[in-house]
Protein backbone atom coordinates (compact mmCIF):
# COMPACT_ATOMS: atom_id res chain seq x y z
CA UNK A 1 0.00 0.00 0.00
CA UNK A 2 1.43 3.35 -1.03
CA UNK A 3 -0.05 5.40 1.74
CA UNK A 4 2.12 8.43 1.03
CA UNK A 5 0.47 9.08 -2.32
CA UNK A 6 -3.02 8.47 -1.05
CA UNK A 7 -4.77 11.84 -0.84
CA UNK A 8 -7.48 10.62 1.53
CA UNK A 9 -4.97 9.06 3.86
CA UNK A 10 -2.76 12.15 3.90
CA UNK A 11 -5.66 14.51 4.57
CA UNK A 12 -7.03 12.21 7.25
CA UNK A 13 -3.63 11.85 8.88
CA UNK A 14 -3.12 15.62 8.96
CA UNK A 15 -6.55 16.31 10.49
CA UNK A 16 -6.26 13.48 13.01
CA UNK A 17 -2.72 14.48 13.97
CA UNK A 18 -3.89 18.06 14.48
CA UNK A 19 -6.77 16.97 16.72
CA UNK A 20 -4.54 14.57 18.65
CA UNK A 21 -1.93 17.26 19.29
CA UNK A 22 -4.62 19.68 20.43
CA UNK A 23 -6.11 17.03 22.73
CA UNK A 24 -2.72 16.01 24.14
CA UNK A 25 -1.70 19.61 24.77
CA UNK A 26 -5.14 20.20 26.30
CA UNK A 27 -4.44 17.54 28.91
CA UNK A 28 -1.63 19.59 30.42
CA UNK A 29 -2.45 23.12 29.31
CA UNK A 30 -5.51 25.03 28.08
CA UNK A 31 -5.67 28.81 27.50
CA UNK A 32 -8.02 29.17 30.47
CA UNK A 33 -9.40 26.83 33.11
CA UNK A 34 -12.29 25.17 31.18
CA UNK A 35 -14.61 25.53 34.18
CA UNK A 36 -13.53 28.98 35.38
CA UNK A 37 -16.43 31.40 35.20
CA UNK A 38 -16.02 35.09 34.54
CA UNK A 39 -19.09 37.21 35.20
CA UNK A 40 -17.64 40.18 33.37
CA UNK A 41 -17.07 38.27 30.15
CA UNK A 42 -20.35 36.49 29.36
CA UNK A 43 -21.10 35.45 25.79
CA UNK A 44 -18.21 37.36 24.27
CA UNK A 45 -17.83 37.05 20.53
CA UNK A 46 -14.56 35.53 19.33
CA UNK A 47 -11.76 38.03 19.94
CA UNK A 48 -8.03 38.07 20.65
CA UNK A 49 -8.26 37.20 24.35
CA UNK A 50 -10.91 34.51 23.79
CA UNK A 51 -10.24 33.05 20.35
CA UNK A 52 -13.60 31.26 20.17
CA UNK A 53 -15.47 33.61 22.50
CA UNK A 54 -17.04 32.76 25.85
CA UNK A 55 -20.24 31.01 26.91
CA UNK A 56 -23.12 32.11 29.12
CA UNK A 57 -21.03 31.73 32.28
CA UNK A 58 -18.06 33.55 30.81
CA UNK A 59 -16.13 30.30 30.37
CA UNK A 60 -13.57 30.25 27.57
CA UNK A 61 -15.04 28.20 24.72
CA UNK A 62 -11.70 27.26 23.16
CA UNK A 63 -10.58 25.70 26.45
CA UNK A 64 -13.88 23.89 26.79
CA UNK A 65 -13.79 22.60 23.24
CA UNK A 66 -10.26 21.27 23.80
CA UNK A 67 -11.27 19.55 27.01
CA UNK A 68 -14.52 18.30 25.52
CA UNK A 69 -12.73 16.91 22.47
CA UNK A 70 -10.39 15.08 24.83
CA UNK A 71 -13.29 13.59 26.77
CA UNK A 72 -15.11 12.57 23.61
CA UNK A 73 -11.92 11.08 22.19
CA UNK A 74 -11.17 9.06 25.32
CA UNK A 75 -14.71 7.72 25.53
CA UNK A 76 -14.66 6.73 21.86
CA UNK A 77 -11.24 5.11 22.23
CA UNK A 78 -12.31 3.16 25.33
CA UNK A 79 -15.49 2.08 23.57
CA UNK A 80 -13.61 0.79 20.54
CA UNK A 81 -11.10 -0.93 22.81
CA UNK A 82 -13.87 -2.85 24.61
CA UNK A 83 -15.68 -3.71 21.40
CA UNK A 84 -12.48 -4.76 19.67
CA UNK A 85 -11.13 -6.87 22.55
CA UNK A 86 -14.38 -8.75 23.05
CA UNK A 87 -14.94 -8.94 19.31
CA UNK A 88 -11.50 -10.47 18.78
CA UNK A 89 -12.08 -13.15 21.39
CA UNK A 90 -15.65 -14.01 20.40
CA UNK A 91 -15.08 -13.69 16.66
CA UNK A 92 -11.74 -15.48 16.85
CA UNK A 93 -13.07 -18.47 18.79
CA UNK A 94 -16.30 -18.87 16.83
CA UNK A 95 -14.52 -18.42 13.52
CA UNK A 96 -11.81 -20.88 14.44
CA UNK A 97 -13.91 -23.63 15.97
CA UNK A 98 -17.23 -23.13 14.15
CA UNK A 99 -19.96 -25.54 15.16
CA UNK A 100 -23.27 -24.94 16.93
CA UNK A 101 -21.88 -22.29 19.27
CA UNK A 102 -20.86 -20.31 16.20
CA UNK A 103 -24.44 -20.53 14.91
CA UNK A 104 -25.95 -19.37 18.18
CA UNK A 105 -23.53 -16.50 18.69
CA UNK A 106 -23.94 -15.24 15.14
CA UNK A 107 -27.75 -15.39 15.46
CA UNK A 108 -27.54 -13.26 18.58
CA UNK A 109 -25.16 -11.00 16.73
CA UNK A 110 -27.65 -10.53 13.91
CA UNK A 111 -30.39 -9.59 16.33
CA UNK A 112 -28.28 -6.93 17.97
CA UNK A 113 -26.71 -5.67 14.76
CA UNK A 114 -30.10 -5.24 13.10
CA UNK A 115 -30.81 -2.51 15.57
CA UNK A 116 -29.76 1.16 15.49
CA UNK A 117 -26.90 1.22 17.99
CA UNK A 118 -27.68 4.67 19.35
CA UNK A 119 -31.17 3.55 20.29
CA UNK A 120 -29.91 0.44 22.07
CA UNK A 121 -27.24 2.42 23.85
CA UNK A 122 -29.92 4.83 25.01
CA UNK A 123 -31.90 1.99 26.54
CA UNK A 124 -28.82 0.38 28.07
CA UNK A 125 -27.77 3.63 29.68
CA UNK A 126 -31.27 4.14 31.00
CA UNK A 127 -30.82 0.87 32.86
CA UNK A 128 -27.66 2.16 34.48
CA UNK A 129 -26.97 5.63 35.81
CA UNK A 130 -26.15 8.27 33.17
CA UNK A 131 -22.47 9.13 33.12
CA UNK A 132 -19.11 8.48 31.58
CA UNK A 133 -18.62 4.86 32.69
CA UNK A 134 -22.12 3.81 31.63
CA UNK A 135 -21.71 5.32 28.20
CA UNK A 136 -18.40 3.54 27.65
CA UNK A 137 -19.85 0.23 28.81
CA UNK A 138 -23.08 0.55 26.85
CA UNK A 139 -21.42 1.59 23.60
CA UNK A 140 -18.59 -0.89 24.06
CA UNK A 141 -21.02 -3.79 24.41
CA UNK A 142 -22.93 -2.62 21.35
CA UNK A 143 -19.78 -2.51 19.26
CA UNK A 144 -18.91 -6.14 19.99
CA UNK A 145 -21.19 -7.69 17.33
CA UNK A 146 -19.82 -5.77 14.37
CA UNK A 147 -16.20 -6.46 15.33
CA UNK A 148 -16.97 -10.09 16.16
CA UNK A 149 -18.54 -10.56 12.75
CA UNK A 150 -15.59 -9.12 10.84
CA UNK A 151 -13.07 -11.11 12.89
CA UNK A 152 -15.07 -14.31 12.56
CA UNK A 153 -15.35 -14.04 8.77
CA UNK A 154 -11.66 -13.35 8.39
CA UNK A 155 -10.53 -16.06 10.82
CA UNK A 156 -12.77 -18.61 9.11
CA UNK A 157 -11.22 -17.66 5.77
CA UNK A 158 -7.63 -17.69 7.02
CA UNK A 159 -7.76 -20.95 8.96
CA UNK A 160 -7.79 -23.06 5.80
CA UNK A 161 -4.69 -21.37 4.41
CA UNK A 162 -1.35 -23.15 4.19
CA UNK A 163 0.50 -21.11 6.77
CA UNK A 164 -1.99 -22.19 9.43
CA UNK A 165 -1.50 -25.83 8.49
CA UNK A 166 2.27 -25.49 8.68
CA UNK A 167 2.07 -23.72 12.03
CA UNK A 168 0.02 -26.64 13.33
CA UNK A 169 2.52 -29.13 11.91
CA UNK A 170 5.22 -27.33 13.81
CA UNK A 171 3.26 -28.09 16.94
CA UNK A 172 1.60 -24.75 17.70
CA UNK A 173 -1.49 -25.03 19.88
CA UNK A 174 -4.89 -23.65 18.90
CA UNK A 175 -4.48 -20.47 20.90
CA UNK A 176 -1.04 -19.86 19.51
CA UNK A 177 -2.23 -20.41 15.93
CA UNK A 178 -5.20 -18.16 16.47
CA UNK A 179 -3.60 -15.23 18.22
CA UNK A 180 0.03 -15.37 17.11
CA UNK A 181 -0.39 -16.49 13.51
CA UNK A 182 -3.88 -15.62 12.27
CA UNK A 183 -4.39 -12.38 14.20
CA UNK A 184 -1.53 -10.41 12.59
CA UNK A 185 -2.89 -11.38 9.19
CA UNK A 186 -6.34 -9.94 9.76
CA UNK A 187 -5.09 -6.58 11.03
CA UNK A 188 -5.18 -4.90 7.59
CA UNK A 189 -8.83 -5.85 7.21
CA UNK A 190 -9.58 -4.76 10.74
CA UNK A 191 -7.98 -1.30 10.64
CA UNK A 192 -10.59 0.47 8.48
CA UNK A 193 -13.33 -1.03 10.63
CA UNK A 194 -11.64 0.28 13.73
CA UNK A 195 -11.59 3.78 12.22
CA UNK A 196 -15.27 3.53 11.28
CA UNK A 197 -16.10 2.14 14.71
CA UNK A 198 -14.29 5.06 16.26
CA UNK A 199 -16.39 7.48 14.24
CA UNK A 200 -19.60 5.76 15.21
CA UNK A 201 -18.49 5.97 18.83
CA UNK A 202 -17.76 9.71 18.56
CA UNK A 203 -21.14 10.26 16.96
CA UNK A 204 -22.93 8.09 19.52
CA UNK A 205 -21.21 9.75 22.47
CA UNK A 206 -21.98 13.21 21.12
CA UNK A 207 -25.63 12.26 20.54
CA UNK A 208 -26.03 10.76 24.00
CA UNK A 209 -24.41 13.65 25.77
CA UNK A 210 -26.52 16.00 23.68
CA UNK A 211 -29.63 14.16 24.85
CA UNK A 212 -28.42 14.50 28.42
CA UNK A 213 -27.81 10.82 29.17
CA UNK A 214 -24.08 10.84 28.49
CA UNK A 215 -21.38 12.85 30.19
CA UNK A 216 -22.85 14.83 33.07
CA UNK A 217 -21.99 18.41 34.03
CA UNK A 218 -19.60 19.85 35.05
CA UNK A 219 -17.55 17.44 32.88
CA UNK A 220 -17.20 18.85 29.37
CA UNK A 221 -17.94 16.82 26.27
CA UNK A 222 -18.64 18.03 22.78
CA UNK A 223 -22.22 16.73 22.75
CA UNK A 224 -22.90 18.17 26.19
CA UNK A 225 -21.65 21.57 24.96
CA UNK A 226 -23.97 21.46 21.96
CA UNK A 227 -26.84 20.78 24.34
CA UNK A 228 -26.00 23.90 26.35
CA UNK A 229 -25.16 25.95 23.27
CA UNK A 230 -28.55 25.38 21.68
CA UNK A 231 -30.13 27.63 24.29
CA UNK A 232 -27.85 30.50 23.32
CA UNK A 233 -28.00 30.00 19.59
CA UNK A 234 -29.29 33.50 18.92
CA UNK A 235 -26.96 35.39 21.26
CA UNK A 236 -23.85 33.20 21.01
CA UNK A 237 -23.90 31.11 17.81
CA UNK A 238 -20.11 30.63 17.95
CA UNK A 239 -20.61 28.36 20.97
CA UNK A 240 -22.52 25.73 19.00
CA UNK A 241 -20.36 26.23 15.92
CA UNK A 242 -17.09 25.59 17.78
CA UNK A 243 -18.31 22.39 19.44
CA UNK A 244 -19.88 21.14 16.21
CA UNK A 245 -16.77 21.90 14.19
CA UNK A 246 -14.65 19.89 16.64
CA UNK A 247 -16.95 16.86 16.26
CA UNK A 248 -16.83 17.17 12.48
CA UNK A 249 -13.02 17.39 12.46
CA UNK A 250 -12.71 14.26 14.64
CA UNK A 251 -15.09 12.27 12.46
CA UNK A 252 -13.71 13.65 9.19
CA UNK A 253 -10.14 12.79 10.15
CA UNK A 254 -10.86 9.16 10.94
CA UNK A 255 -13.30 8.87 8.03
CA UNK A 256 -10.58 9.92 5.59
CA UNK A 257 -8.06 7.61 7.27
CA UNK A 258 -10.37 4.64 6.91
CA UNK A 259 -11.03 5.64 3.31
CA UNK A 260 -7.32 5.82 2.70
CA UNK A 261 -6.78 2.42 4.32
CA UNK A 262 -9.20 0.95 1.81
CA UNK A 263 -12.28 0.61 3.93
CA UNK A 264 -15.73 1.76 3.02
CA UNK A 265 -16.95 4.53 5.23
CA UNK A 266 -20.56 3.63 4.55
CA UNK A 267 -20.76 1.04 7.31
Amino acid sequence: MKLGRNKNFTAGAVITAFMLIVILVGMVWTPYDPNAMDGAAKRLAPCLTHLLGTDNFGRDILSRVIEGAGATFLIAAATVAIGLAAGLIIGGLTGYYGGWLDEVVMRLNDAVAAFPSILLALVLIALMEPGRTSIILALGVLFVPSFARIVRTEVARQKSLDYVASAKLMGAGDMRVLFAHILPNIVPVLLPSVAIGFNNAVLAEASMSYLGVGVQPPDASLGRMLNEAQGYLLTAPWYALSAGAAIILLILGFGLLSEGLGGQSDA
Binding site: A114, S117, L211, P237, G244
Partner: protein
Protein backbone atom coordinates in the same frame (compact mmCIF):
# COMPACT_ATOMS: atom_id res chain seq x y z
CA UNK B 1 -37.14 -12.84 10.30
CA UNK B 2 -39.64 -14.04 12.91
CA UNK B 3 -36.88 -15.65 14.95
CA UNK B 4 -34.93 -12.40 15.00
CA UNK B 5 -38.02 -10.47 16.07
CA UNK B 6 -38.82 -12.92 18.87
CA UNK B 7 -35.24 -12.73 20.04
CA UNK B 8 -35.32 -8.94 20.11
CA UNK B 9 -38.61 -8.88 22.00
CA UNK B 10 -37.22 -11.34 24.54
CA UNK B 11 -34.04 -9.28 24.95
CA UNK B 12 -36.03 -6.06 25.25
CA UNK B 13 -38.19 -7.67 27.90
CA UNK B 14 -35.42 -9.33 29.89
CA UNK B 15 -33.24 -6.21 29.82
CA UNK B 16 -35.77 -4.51 32.05
CA UNK B 17 -35.92 -7.41 34.49
CA UNK B 18 -32.27 -7.69 35.36
CA UNK B 19 -31.67 -4.03 36.05
CA UNK B 20 -31.08 -2.70 39.52
CA UNK B 21 -33.49 0.22 39.16
CA UNK B 22 -36.95 -0.69 40.41
CA UNK B 23 -39.90 1.14 38.78
CA UNK B 24 -41.89 0.75 41.99
CA UNK B 25 -39.42 2.86 43.94
CA UNK B 26 -39.59 5.56 41.30
CA UNK B 27 -43.41 5.47 41.16
CA UNK B 28 -43.92 5.69 44.90
CA UNK B 29 -41.23 8.29 45.45
CA UNK B 30 -41.49 9.71 48.96
CA UNK B 31 -44.58 7.56 49.73
CA UNK B 32 -42.36 4.49 49.76
CA UNK B 33 -43.08 1.87 52.39
CA UNK B 34 -42.34 -1.84 51.99
CA UNK B 35 -46.08 -2.68 52.23
CA UNK B 36 -47.06 -0.17 49.57
CA UNK B 37 -44.24 -1.33 47.33
CA UNK B 38 -45.43 -4.94 47.64
CA UNK B 39 -49.02 -3.91 46.94
CA UNK B 40 -48.04 -1.90 43.87
CA UNK B 41 -45.82 -4.70 42.68
CA UNK B 42 -48.77 -7.03 42.90
CA UNK B 43 -51.03 -4.55 41.14
CA UNK B 44 -48.57 -4.15 38.26
CA UNK B 45 -48.09 -7.91 38.13
CA UNK B 46 -44.39 -7.60 38.88
CA UNK B 47 -44.49 -10.37 41.51
CA UNK B 48 -45.19 -13.08 38.95
CA UNK B 49 -42.70 -15.34 37.23
CA UNK B 50 -40.61 -13.58 34.56
CA UNK B 51 -41.39 -16.10 31.84
CA UNK B 52 -45.12 -15.94 32.55
CA UNK B 53 -45.01 -12.18 32.29
CA UNK B 54 -43.07 -12.32 29.03
CA UNK B 55 -45.57 -14.68 27.42
CA UNK B 56 -48.41 -12.57 28.79
CA UNK B 57 -46.90 -9.43 27.38
CA UNK B 58 -46.14 -11.08 24.04
CA UNK B 59 -49.69 -12.38 23.53
CA UNK B 60 -50.98 -8.97 24.50
CA UNK B 61 -48.61 -7.31 22.06
CA UNK B 62 -49.65 -9.54 19.18
CA UNK B 63 -53.34 -9.00 19.85
CA UNK B 64 -52.91 -5.23 20.07
CA UNK B 65 -52.93 -4.84 23.85
CA UNK B 66 -49.67 -3.00 24.49
CA UNK B 67 -49.98 -2.89 28.26
CA UNK B 68 -50.46 -0.02 30.68
CA UNK B 69 -47.99 2.81 31.15
CA UNK B 70 -46.70 3.16 34.72
CA UNK B 71 -46.35 6.92 34.80
CA UNK B 72 -49.22 8.10 32.61
CA UNK B 73 -51.76 5.73 34.13
CA UNK B 74 -53.29 4.84 30.78
CA UNK B 75 -52.75 2.25 28.11
CA UNK B 76 -49.49 2.39 26.19
CA UNK B 77 -51.35 2.67 22.91
CA UNK B 78 -53.12 5.80 24.20
CA UNK B 79 -49.81 7.32 25.29
CA UNK B 80 -48.26 6.59 21.92
CA UNK B 81 -51.19 7.87 19.90
CA UNK B 82 -50.09 10.44 17.36
CA UNK B 83 -46.43 10.21 18.43
CA UNK B 84 -45.69 7.31 16.12
CA UNK B 85 -47.15 9.25 13.23
CA UNK B 86 -44.75 12.15 13.80
CA UNK B 87 -41.69 9.89 13.89
CA UNK B 88 -42.93 7.86 10.94
CA UNK B 89 -43.62 11.00 8.89
CA UNK B 90 -40.21 12.45 9.76
CA UNK B 91 -38.30 9.23 9.04
CA UNK B 92 -40.15 8.59 5.80
CA UNK B 93 -39.63 12.15 4.63
CA UNK B 94 -35.92 11.99 5.44
CA UNK B 95 -35.66 8.65 3.68
CA UNK B 96 -37.36 9.93 0.54
CA UNK B 97 -35.09 12.97 0.62
CA UNK B 98 -32.05 10.70 0.78
CA UNK B 99 -33.23 8.95 -2.38
CA UNK B 100 -34.30 12.17 -4.11
CA UNK B 101 -30.93 13.81 -3.46
CA UNK B 102 -28.52 10.95 -3.89
CA UNK B 103 -29.80 9.09 -6.95
CA UNK B 104 -29.73 12.03 -9.42
CA UNK B 105 -26.55 13.38 -7.84
CA UNK B 106 -24.72 10.05 -7.86
CA UNK B 107 -25.62 9.44 -11.51
CA UNK B 108 -24.65 12.98 -12.54
CA UNK B 109 -21.30 12.77 -10.77
CA UNK B 110 -20.51 9.41 -12.37
CA UNK B 111 -21.51 10.79 -15.75
CA UNK B 112 -19.15 13.75 -15.43
CA UNK B 113 -16.43 11.81 -13.61
CA UNK B 114 -13.19 13.74 -13.20
CA UNK B 115 -14.73 17.08 -14.23
CA UNK B 116 -14.70 20.00 -11.83
CA UNK B 117 -18.25 19.36 -10.56
CA UNK B 118 -17.36 15.78 -9.71
CA UNK B 119 -14.11 16.69 -7.98
CA UNK B 120 -15.73 19.41 -5.86
CA UNK B 121 -18.56 17.15 -4.78
CA UNK B 122 -16.34 14.17 -3.98
CA UNK B 123 -14.27 16.36 -1.68
CA UNK B 124 -17.34 17.93 -0.07
CA UNK B 125 -19.00 14.55 0.34
CA UNK B 126 -16.48 13.53 2.99
CA UNK B 127 -17.35 16.60 5.02
CA UNK B 128 -21.09 16.05 4.68
CA UNK B 129 -20.72 12.45 5.81
CA UNK B 130 -18.94 13.66 8.94
CA UNK B 131 -21.67 16.05 10.09
CA UNK B 132 -23.79 14.65 12.92
CA UNK B 133 -27.50 15.04 12.02
CA UNK B 134 -28.33 16.78 15.28
CA UNK B 135 -25.60 19.37 14.73
CA UNK B 136 -26.95 19.98 11.24
CA UNK B 137 -30.34 20.44 12.91
CA UNK B 138 -28.88 23.05 15.25
CA UNK B 139 -27.27 24.81 12.28
CA UNK B 140 -30.58 24.81 10.42
CA UNK B 141 -32.35 26.17 13.48
CA UNK B 142 -29.90 29.03 13.54
CA UNK B 143 -29.67 29.79 9.82
CA UNK B 144 -33.21 29.11 8.62
CA UNK B 145 -35.10 29.57 11.87
CA UNK B 146 -33.40 32.49 13.57
CA UNK B 147 -31.57 34.43 10.87
CA UNK B 148 -33.82 33.86 7.84
CA UNK B 149 -36.95 33.22 9.94
CA UNK B 150 -38.29 30.56 7.57
CA UNK B 151 -39.78 28.60 10.48
CA UNK B 152 -40.35 29.07 14.19
CA UNK B 153 -37.85 26.93 16.15
CA UNK B 154 -39.76 24.74 18.59
CA UNK B 155 -43.10 25.72 17.09
CA UNK B 156 -44.05 22.37 15.65
CA UNK B 157 -47.55 22.08 14.21
CA UNK B 158 -49.86 19.12 14.87
CA UNK B 159 -51.28 17.36 11.82
CA UNK B 160 -54.81 18.01 13.13
CA UNK B 161 -54.23 21.76 13.02
CA UNK B 162 -52.83 21.97 9.54
CA UNK B 163 -51.50 19.10 7.49
CA UNK B 164 -49.50 21.44 5.25
CA UNK B 165 -47.97 23.19 8.24
CA UNK B 166 -47.12 19.84 9.83
CA UNK B 167 -45.15 18.66 6.84
CA UNK B 168 -43.73 22.14 6.29
CA UNK B 169 -42.21 22.10 9.76
CA UNK B 170 -40.76 18.65 9.12
CA UNK B 171 -38.76 19.75 6.07
CA UNK B 172 -35.76 21.07 7.99
CA UNK B 173 -35.52 18.21 10.51
CA UNK B 174 -35.88 15.77 7.62
CA UNK B 175 -33.11 17.53 5.70
CA UNK B 176 -30.87 17.48 8.76
CA UNK B 177 -31.24 13.69 8.96
CA UNK B 178 -31.11 13.14 5.22
CA UNK B 179 -28.03 15.11 4.16
CA UNK B 180 -25.29 13.00 5.84
CA UNK B 181 -26.99 9.80 4.65
CA UNK B 182 -27.50 11.21 1.15
CA UNK B 183 -23.78 11.95 1.01
CA UNK B 184 -23.04 8.28 1.76
CA UNK B 185 -25.54 6.97 -0.77
CA UNK B 186 -24.28 9.38 -3.45
CA UNK B 187 -20.75 8.17 -2.90
CA UNK B 188 -21.81 4.52 -3.01
CA UNK B 189 -23.86 4.97 -6.19
CA UNK B 190 -21.11 6.92 -7.91
CA UNK B 191 -18.44 4.34 -7.15
CA UNK B 192 -20.81 1.50 -7.98
CA UNK B 193 -21.43 2.99 -11.45
CA UNK B 194 -17.73 3.64 -11.98
CA UNK B 195 -16.96 0.05 -11.00
CA UNK B 196 -19.42 -1.27 -13.54
CA UNK B 197 -17.86 0.95 -16.21
CA UNK B 198 -14.83 -1.36 -16.13
CA UNK B 199 -16.89 -4.38 -17.20
CA UNK B 200 -16.72 -6.00 -20.61
CA UNK B 201 -20.36 -5.41 -21.48
CA UNK B 202 -19.70 -1.68 -21.24
CA UNK B 203 -17.07 -1.94 -23.97
CA UNK B 204 -19.57 -3.82 -26.09
CA UNK B 205 -22.17 -1.15 -25.48
CA UNK B 206 -19.70 1.57 -26.48
CA UNK B 207 -18.78 -0.32 -29.63
CA UNK B 208 -22.38 -0.30 -30.70
CA UNK B 209 -22.25 3.48 -30.82
CA UNK B 210 -23.65 4.40 -27.40
CA UNK B 211 -22.53 7.63 -25.80
CA UNK B 212 -21.21 7.55 -22.20
CA UNK B 213 -24.59 8.74 -20.97
CA UNK B 214 -26.34 6.14 -23.10
CA UNK B 215 -24.17 3.38 -21.67
CA UNK B 216 -24.86 4.49 -18.12
CA UNK B 217 -28.58 4.97 -18.64
CA UNK B 218 -29.32 1.84 -20.63
CA UNK B 219 -26.81 -0.69 -19.38
CA UNK B 220 -24.83 0.25 -16.30
CA UNK B 221 -27.51 1.69 -14.07
CA UNK B 222 -29.53 -1.48 -13.56
CA UNK B 223 -26.42 -3.32 -12.46
CA UNK B 224 -24.97 -0.49 -10.40
CA UNK B 225 -28.16 0.17 -8.48
CA UNK B 226 -28.23 -3.25 -6.74
CA UNK B 227 -25.83 -2.65 -3.85
CA UNK B 228 -27.35 0.80 -3.46
CA UNK B 229 -30.87 -0.60 -2.99
CA UNK B 230 -29.72 -2.80 -0.13
CA UNK B 231 -27.84 0.05 1.48
CA UNK B 232 -30.72 2.52 1.12
CA UNK B 233 -33.11 0.06 2.74
CA UNK B 234 -30.72 -0.44 5.63
CA UNK B 235 -30.24 3.30 6.17
CA UNK B 236 -33.83 3.45 7.37
CA UNK B 237 -32.71 1.98 10.68
CA UNK B 238 -30.18 4.78 11.13
CA UNK B 239 -32.72 7.32 9.99
CA UNK B 240 -35.21 6.22 12.64
CA UNK B 241 -32.45 6.44 15.25
CA UNK B 242 -31.41 9.81 13.88
CA UNK B 243 -34.96 11.11 13.99
CA UNK B 244 -35.21 10.24 17.66
CA UNK B 245 -32.34 12.63 18.35
CA UNK B 246 -33.32 15.27 15.83
CA UNK B 247 -36.82 15.37 17.34
CA UNK B 248 -35.14 16.80 20.44
CA UNK B 249 -33.42 19.53 18.43
CA UNK B 250 -36.66 20.71 16.82
CA UNK B 251 -38.91 19.93 19.81
CA UNK B 252 -41.04 17.54 17.76
CA UNK B 253 -43.61 15.54 19.76
CA UNK B 254 -42.59 12.14 18.40
CA UNK B 255 -41.58 8.73 19.71
CA UNK B 256 -38.08 9.98 20.49
CA UNK B 257 -39.23 12.50 23.07
CA UNK B 258 -41.62 9.95 24.53
CA UNK B 259 -38.83 7.39 24.70
CA UNK B 260 -36.48 9.78 26.50
CA UNK B 261 -39.19 10.87 28.93
CA UNK B 262 -40.17 7.24 29.59
CA UNK B 263 -36.57 6.24 30.18
CA UNK B 264 -36.33 9.04 32.74
CA UNK B 265 -39.56 7.95 34.42
CA UNK B 266 -38.59 4.26 34.35
CA UNK B 267 -41.83 3.69 32.47
CA UNK B 268 -40.71 0.35 31.05
CA UNK B 269 -43.91 -0.77 29.30
CA UNK B 270 -43.62 2.31 27.07
CA UNK B 271 -39.89 1.85 26.49
CA UNK B 272 -40.29 -1.84 25.67
CA UNK B 273 -43.07 -1.09 23.28
CA UNK B 274 -41.16 1.60 21.39
CA UNK B 275 -38.05 -0.56 21.19
CA UNK B 276 -39.93 -3.56 19.83
CA UNK B 277 -41.89 -1.49 17.33
CA UNK B 278 -38.74 0.14 15.97
CA UNK B 279 -37.01 -3.24 15.87
CA UNK B 280 -39.93 -4.66 13.91
CA UNK B 281 -39.70 -1.83 11.38
CA UNK B 282 -35.96 -2.32 11.01
CA UNK B 283 -36.12 -6.08 10.60
CA UNK B 284 -38.98 -5.74 8.14
CA UNK B 285 -37.05 -3.20 6.07
CA UNK B 286 -34.02 -5.49 5.89
CA UNK B 287 -36.27 -8.28 4.72
CA UNK B 288 -37.86 -5.99 2.14
CA UNK B 289 -34.43 -5.01 0.88
CA UNK B 290 -33.68 -8.69 0.22
CA UNK B 291 -36.96 -9.14 -1.62
CA UNK B 292 -36.47 -6.02 -3.74
CA UNK B 293 -32.89 -6.96 -4.61
CA UNK B 294 -34.09 -10.37 -5.66
CA UNK B 295 -36.82 -8.89 -7.83
CA UNK B 296 -34.44 -6.59 -9.67
CA UNK B 297 -31.72 -9.20 -9.92
CA UNK B 298 -32.91 -12.78 -10.38
CA UNK B 299 -29.33 -13.97 -9.83
CA UNK B 300 -29.69 -13.26 -6.13
CA UNK B 301 -31.63 -15.95 -4.29
CA UNK B 302 -32.79 -15.63 -0.75
CA UNK B 303 -30.82 -17.97 1.47
Amino acid sequence: MLVTLLLISLLAFLAFQIIPADPVTKLLGTDYTPERAAALRHELGLDRNVLVRYLDWLTGFVTGDLGVSYSYGMSVSAVMEGKGAVTAALSLMAWLLVIAISVPLGITLARWQGRRLDRVFVAMNQVFMAIPPFFLGILFTYIFGMVLKLFVPGGSILPEESLGGFFGYLIFPALAIAIPKAAMVTKLLRSSILNQMQENYVRTAYSRGNSRWGVIRLHVLRNAILPVVTFVAMTLADIVAGSIIVEQVFALPGLGRLLLASIGNRDYPVVQCIVVIIAAVVVFMNYLADVVTQTIDPRVRLG
